[in-house]
Symmetry: C2
Subunit: 155 residues, 2 copies
């Protein structure tokens, strides 16, 4: 079994997409984040939901979350949406030196190779890609399933 | 709306549980990880699936994932299972100074307070807990949904 046999679809957004649309995708699909691609469809990084929150919650509230209580419910949501609105995905990403290294393997990678890459980078998912083509992502939970099932006694 | 209204169930494991059972829980429920509690049920940390892989994949393969190809499929799975087998969750966790700070809020926390805590700690989920009782977890994607829906024009 190779990486390309294990892939799942995963939502992609472009650097130029609207940040609110990316937030909506994360919310609707209940994903921890989305994969970000450039204009040619090449994977760039991952935009985690926590980074969208980081960009939208006012800095002084992040420093001291108890200050959040100065807002009522609608006021809190409004200030977050105001910070996101009109922004592109690119603007919401952390500065390049702080971005997540995009973990990537080729479609030919074995299960153990995927597991090793994930372990080394401490990431819950890796992108499977050959040349310019993205096959999808493989999650740590899926890899664990494959490894655990391989342990069943063989006939 | 408060944190306790937003919680979802999340799999818990004890420090003394079998590491293979924790791996199976992550695999079957397709979770990025599990919350670890102590003997009194108090939350201690999060055990991510990538950490289970980190513990099970041989160190030299993590250093150079291309070495994974010295194993065939069954051999690769066997070496991982051997490393996990007979271990407790506690043994598989990173050393204490490298563990994930367990992000926690009280059941009374507002949406913005949850978002601020998640943003500050760059985590995709937080545990909601009062005194000794764990109510559940709140995910970043769920919070984004609540914030986005609050933006609908009010009558």
């Amino acid at each position: 079994m190779r990486a390309r046999d294990l892939v799942e679809d995963y939502p992609l957004v472009r650097l130029t997409d609207d940040a609110l649309a990316a937030a909506r995708l994360i919310a609707e699909q209940r994903r921890p984040g989305v994969v970000v691609v450039d204009g040619e469809g090449r994977p760039v990084t991952v935009l985690p939901g926590s980074q969208v929150l980081r960009f939208s919650v006012p800095g002084y509230v992040q420093e001291d979350p108890s200050l959040a209580r100065v807002y009522d419910e609608q006021g809190g949501a409004d200030v977050c949406l105001r910070n996101l609105s009109g922004r592109s995905v690119k603007e919401v990403l952390p500065p390049e030196e702080k971005r997540y290294e995009l973990p990537m393997v080729s479609g030919e990678a074995t299960v153990l190779e995927c597991a090793a890459t994930m372990a080394r980078l401490r990431t819950p998912l890796i992108v499977v890609s050959d040349d310019e083509e993205i096959h999808g992502v493989v999650t740590a939970s899926h890899l664990l399933e494959v490894i655990l099932n391989a342990s069943e006694p063989r006939a």
